[in-house]
Structure formats: structure tokens, C-alpha cells
Symmetry: C2
Subunit: 158 residues, 2 copies
DNA sequence: TATTGTTATACTCTATAACTATA
DNA sequence: TATAGTTATAGAGTATAACAATA
């Protein structure tokens, strides 16, 4: 009976409507949550044009210096060809560089530039603040529980 | 300690990588979950080309006969203009009809057709089975808890 | 032959702005 | 003037297929 939103209300212009079975569906809840969080992320982050996808790529390259494009594609659930445009954007802004891998000259080793590192460092507190805002109605135990439950969903492979 | 996936592994081709801070971020977890659920939904549902969005529109129109397009737009978090194409698809398949509202001749009252009702009735058990599959690692209390926590996130308005 | 990255291309989804018809 | 729906249009994001270089 908390201050929650079990009956799901979305701000609607005129008289309110009923959502039928939708609020019972985890897929629907997730979709609504993700749309809202995506919007909040984009308005919370100072760097223009940095989306959750680009931020995720920066984090992964930072955590795995020299990783290959195919590995990045797997990690962010995109096709190889889609990763090309992600990296084109990051490289155009001077945040990432593609270095021909000496041991396998088909592959590119990905690295943050100094500027990429600087931007990532400035983004992290902004993203943490954004997360804090989204989660502000949940106490630490509830946040941990939410993480854990999301991690146990059974998801279709790419 | 459960059978969970706290450390987040995504099937990756070569040597595995580390995800850095991403697994701590609720936005990242939600995005991964939503991509996987969307894929599972589309392969689970027999009707071709029925996406979660179209299914949601059918449920809402069924639950609110005569609702207006603007109300539907608010409910599914789309612009008025985007709802036009949603309804065009549903109407082209004979599932929904737009009836000029007599009390306000600018507006359309939305209704399921007999065929729309029939298709919705056949979709519901498929969607329930899909949800059951996604949630199969969670017991009833955990499912309820997940719903409740998702409902308490603070989301940006449209 | 298989793999890595790239290109060309097309498709879907969505929003913005301008339009129409009603109010 | 304001509202409901539509259209035209453009942008972002993604995938598929074919290609070059390398293994």
C-alpha cells in the first residue's frame, strides 16, 4: 500500500481511461519505464547527443581497452554493422580511436582518447544523479532487490 | 547467491569482457531486459506483425470503447501523429474502426471490430505464455515485488 | 573458406510543422 | 483562437546483403 503506482496512471489530458490488463504485464511496465528513463537521461546529461547507447559504449571501451568491434556489438546487443555508426559518432567527437590490431590485422582495437576519458569522467556523476532521481522513491534494499530481479529475467538471445 | 545473473553476462563470441559500471545502472538493466522481451514477444505471438505497441493499443481500445486518439496517444506515450500510423495498421487489418464522434465531430471514437475482438482474445493467452516464460525464474512474491518496484520509478513525462 | 569491418540500402519508428475541419 | 486528426517530411536507429582485406 505504499505511495506506489500499482494502478498505473499516465498523465492524460481529458477524462482518465482504464489500462485493462496492461499493468499486469511486465513487458508493458518495462517499456513505459524505459521510455521515461531514456527521456530523463537525455535531458540530464550535459554533453549534447550522448545517448544511453553511446555512454554504454564509452564505459565498455574504458573497462576493456583494446576490445574489438565484434565484442562491443555482442555486449550492447547490436549488429556489427550498427556498431560502425556508433563508433563513427564517438570517433568524430574525438572520444574513441580505432587502432589496427597488430596480431590480427582485420580487427580494430578500441581505446578511449584522453578527451574520451575526460568526457566519460564528467558524464559519470551526471548519470549517477539521473539514476538517483529515477530511484528516489526506493530505499537501498529495494534498489538492490530491483536489480536482482531484473537480472533474473529470462531473455531471448540476440 | 541465487541462480541469478548479478554479474551480467551477455553471450559473447570470443573471450569475455567486463561490463564496468553498467550492471549497477538501472537504465542499462531495463534496456537489456526490454530488448530481450521485445524479441521474445515477437517470436511468441502467432499473428504476424503484431508488436507490443499494437497489442497495447488493442487492449486499451477494448478496455475503453469509444476512446479518442489523443487519449490513446497519452496512454501509450506517443505523439498524436504517430498514433495515426498505429491506427492505420490496425484498421487496415480490420481490427479497429474509427467512428466520427457525434458530440464532437473533430474526434474519432475508437472501437474494436468483431475481428479485432477475436484476434485480441487469441493473443491474450499467447502473451500470458510469453510473460510466463520471461518470468519463470521468479516465484509469485518476486513477480509481485518486481511489478511494484517498477511502478514506483520516477519517470519523465512525455 | 571464415572472419572483421565496411558500405549501400532499406525499413521502422518517431517527432515537428503545417494543414483541414471543426469548435 | 484552440482542438482533433492528418499529411508531408526528416531524422535516428537498426538490420540485411554484398564487399575488401586478412586469416
Amino acid at each position: 500500500m505504499g505511495a506506489g503506482n500499482d494502478n498505473l496512471t499516465v498523465p492524460t489530458s481529458a477524462e482518465s481511461i482504464t489500462f485493462g490488463m496492461l499493468p499486469e504485464l511486465i513487458g508493458y511496465r518495462l517499456r513505459i519505464a524505459q521510455i521515461g528513463i531514456f527521456r530523463d537521461f537525455c535531458t540530464s546529461v550535459d554533453e549534447p547527443e550522448i545517448t544511453p547507447t553511446l555512454f554504454g559504449a564509452l564505459v565498455l571501451i574504458d573497462a576493456n581497452p583494446g576490445m574489438k568491434q565484434t565484442q562491443l556489438a555482442d555486449a550492447i546487443q547490436l549488429d556489427r554493422s550498427s556498431v560502425v555508426s556508433v563508433l563513427d559518432k564517438l570517433e568524430a567527437r574525438g572520444l574513441v580511436e580505432r587502432v589496427r590490431a597488430p596480431e590480427n590485422r582485420r580487427a580494430n582495437a578500441l581505446h578511449l582518447t584522453t578527451e574520451g576519458r575526460r568526457i566519460l569522467d564528467s558524464l559519470i556523476p551526471q548519470v549517477r544523479a539521473h539514476e538517483e532521481r529515477v530511484l528516489r522513491n526506493l530505499d537501498p534494499a529495494e534498489r538492490a532487490q530491483l536489480q536482482k530481479l531484473l537480472g533474473r529475467l529470462v531473455l531471448a538471445a540476440g
